[in-house]
């Protein structure tokens, strides 16, 4: 099994430590991982802004970069969702269909494909999960509070087996943080209010570290936390699952 590591553009440029943790974690789990150079972006920023047609070149490049792998794994739910859901704008060649089918969010890949939940990590802190919307309601990484299905959560399954980690329950378990890509600047007031409300919930729930499977939401929350000098740390779930403190 050959896995192509998909590191979304903003993680590549701004959060290399998340990419590193993802790669190290997969290697630790015995996966044969390759990082195709020349990868850029999934096209989501354009699609969500209405410029889907201008993103076709980006999507095609993504397919070219990853078409030879058995699985494509990335640490960002919304980017993975974009590949799976919105690459319908491309001509559906065998390559395109295979790439869409085999692209996985990191936790989902570990949990569902590798079938592992005990990863040997330890992280002695109180942790709150931010369940990013595209992962939750797009990729169905877990049950959402709106639907009356049986409860399940991919991220919880993985974090519950981290030694020393105490998972905290929030008052609103899966409310959006207000990032939403360009929404964060074009609807700035609401975006900031939504983010601050999420952070307040984590603080009130005695959380020390906010984590999640989508670093774009975490970037937004971290920006607010740092500005307001709040006593919270933000880490991608790959960093926690890869740690042995």
């Amino acid at each position: 099994m050959k896995v192509g590591l998909f590191i979304p553009c903003y993680i590549n440029q701004l959060y290399p430590q998340v990419g590193i943790a993802t790669l190290e974690l997969l290697e630790k789990l015995g996966v044969d991982v390759d990082y195709p150079m020349g990868q850029t972006c999934c096209g989501q920023p354009l699609g969500n802004s209405g410029y889907e047609d201008d993103s076709k070149g980006i999507c095609q490049l993504f397919v070219e970069n990853f078409k030879t792998y058995d699985y494509i794994v990335g640490p960002s739910g919304s980017c993975v969702y974009h590949v799976k859901k919105h690459f319908d704008i491309l001509e559906q060649t065998e390559d395109v269909k295979r790439v869409r089918k085999n692209t996985y969010e990191l936790c989902q890949f570990i949990h569902d494909v590798l079938g592992k939940t005990h990863l040997g990590a330890s992280f002695p802190y109180k942790v709150g999960i931010h369940k990013s919307c595209h992962g939750l309601r797009g990729l169905r990484l877990g049950s959402c509070s709106e639907r009356m299905d049986t409860h399940y959560s991919t991220e919880e399954d993985l974090l519950k087996n981290v030694k020393g980690l105490e998972l905290k329950t929030l008052k609103r378990v899966d409310e959006c943080c207000g990032f939403g890509g360009t929404f964060s600047v074009f609807e700035e007031a609401i975006s900031v209010k939504m983010g601050n409300d999420r952070i307040r919930d984590h603080i009130d729930s005695d959380v020390q570290v906010i984590t999640g499977a989508d670093h774009s939401c975490l970037m937004h929350l971290e920006g607010l936390i740092n500005r307001n000098k709040q006593p919270l740390k933000v880490m991608h779930i790959a960093e926690i699952l890869n740690s042995s403190i």
């Binding site: 590549n12 430590q17 354009l46 490049l61 509070s145 939403g180 970037m219």
Partner: protein
């Protein structure tokens, strides 16, 4: 003013935003609890969605069948192509029956058609009898929510409003006192009305009957006391058979307020002896929406308002910020179909979180339609030059590995080395309330290349 500006204005008073958010979240939680008690809730949603899809595919037949059966029951059926025709029809019925005073129970359709101002301009008194609607009518406002029209008002504000219009005593917003006073005031209006206008929640094709759901019994009170009953309905309100109510009535009230069923589910099948019953079936853009494959399912809506209660943006921006008769997520996919330019900001007033689609009792893919409208809007409505240019350039750069590598490096260099007053200027909306990420020495590409070398 665009939604973002209205929302920013609403957010100036944070305690009010918190209050509004919590009030609606409370309703959402009530809905969750009540839906949890129904075994097979998700199956009910599937069934409701399938029935509505069937109705939309066969709407022409169901409409004709409904009309025939209603006529057999002694009901007069009218057809209105648009809002103007609807208003004219209602007015002409009132003229023919010599009506001067009308009581109206809740109907978003008549709001959509702006019936009240039309009738008032023609010398007819219209009193909204739903308590929430009466409140906004007295305040000369429009509903900010389709089920809870006055949810933007605190009880203290209602207290002041009632003192002015109903002559009540100051009560510190005592809900029981204020409701009682409203009841007395409305009782008088009911007794003096010559005609009652109601909306329609469900129109049953195979019986020709209609069902109106209220919690206050105001539709019944109006229709039973007046000699003329006019029911106004959008043409998408049909269901094939009466038995299907067993699905829709169970979903509607639970989704709307968390009640197992509305206090009154009133079935109107034919006029009582000595009275008249009219049904006005309105198109007003619905055929056009039905014609749009991507947006057809928006017509499945049963107007429960659950998507508003769950929407994190609606809860923090208030219904009036949408500047549309139907606010919130469902309004944001309906309104662009009516006037694309006017409502072109609405599909962007969302993070595409998808909560609306999962809460919707008839499974409308609301957030996917918001995404689709965005694609339509940037093509058909002139866009801000900067936004458009930036995204179009991004499309080129990100499709080219080398250009992307260079752009990434440059951006990181600027972020790392430019002085704070440059990166946090007024052009950077991100930085008004948020810090930018701290830039590391290497990006992932560089780190990976270095690691390859060392191996």
């Amino acid at each position: 003013m665009a939604h973002a500006d209205e929302a920013a204005l609403f957010n100036k008073d944070e305690s009010k935003v918190d209050w509004h958010d919590k009030a609606l979240w409370f309703v959402r939680q009530k809905r969750d609890k009540s839906a949890h008690k129904v075994k097979g809730w998700e199956t009910l949603r599937d069934l409701a969605s399938a029935i509505k899809a069937n109705v939309m595919s066969n709407l022409d037949n169901y409409l004709v069948q409904f009309e025939e059966n209603a006529q057999k029951n002694g009901v007069t059926v009218h057809w209105a192509a648009d809002a103007e025709e609807h208003n004219k029809i209602v007015h002409s019925i009132l003229q023919q029956t010599n009506v001067k005073k009308v009581v109206k129970s809740k109907s978003m359709l008549t709001e959509e058609c702006h019936l009240n101002p039309y009738l008032e301009a023609n010398g007819i008194e219209v009193v909204d009898t739903d308590l929430g609607e009466r409140i906004v009518q007295l305040a000369k406002e429009v509903p900010s929510h389709i089920v809870l029209p006055a949810i933007h008002k605190t009880k203290e504000e209602v207290d002041v409003l009632f003192q002015k219009h109903l002559g009540t005593k100051p009560s510190n917003g005592d809900p029981q006192y204020l409701t009682n006073e409203a009841r007395k005031h409305l009782r008088d209006k009911f007794l003096k009305a010559d005609a009652a206008i109601t909306g329609v929640n469900f129109a049953v094709a195979d019986t020709g009957g209609i069902v109106v759901c209220t919690n206050e019994g105001n539709a019944d009170m109006g229709a039973h006391l007046a000699k003329v009953h006019i029911a106004c309905m959008g043409m998408e309100k049909l269901i094939p058979q009466e038995k299907h109510l067993g699905i829709f009535l169970r979903l509607l009230a639970r989704s709307a307020t968390g009640q197992p069923i509305t206090t009154y589910s009133s079935h109107f099948n034919k006029p009582a002896p000595g009275t008249e019953m009219h049904i006005v079936i309105v198109d007003n853009g619905r055929t056009e929406q039905l014609n749009r494959e991507d947006f057809r399912a928006s017509l499945h809506c049963i107007r429960c308002g659950a998507c508003m209660n769950t929407c994190p943006i609606y809860r923090r921006s208030g219904g009036h910020s949408y500047k549309a008769t139907i606010p919130g997520p469902i309004g944001s996919i309906l309104s662009p179909g009516k006037d694309l330019t006017k409502h072109s900001d609405l599909p962007f007033a969302s993070t595409l979180c998808g909560s609306c689609s999962d809460v919707c009792p008839v499974k409308i893919n609301i957030h996917e339609q918001l995404y689709k409208w965005r694609q339509v809007i940037v093509k058909d409505v002139p866009q801000p030059v900067v936004k458009k240019t930036v995204l179009k350039i991004a499309g080129r750069v990100l499709a080219n590995s080398k250009m992307y590598g260079f752009a990434g490096k440059s951006a990181r260099f600027i972020l790392k080395h430019a002085p704070r007053f440059v990166t946090y200027s007024k052009f950077n909306a991100w930085g008004e309330a948020r810090d930018l990420p701290e830039v590391k020495d290497d990006n992932f590409d560089t780190w990976y290349k270095k690691r390859q070398k060392h191996e």
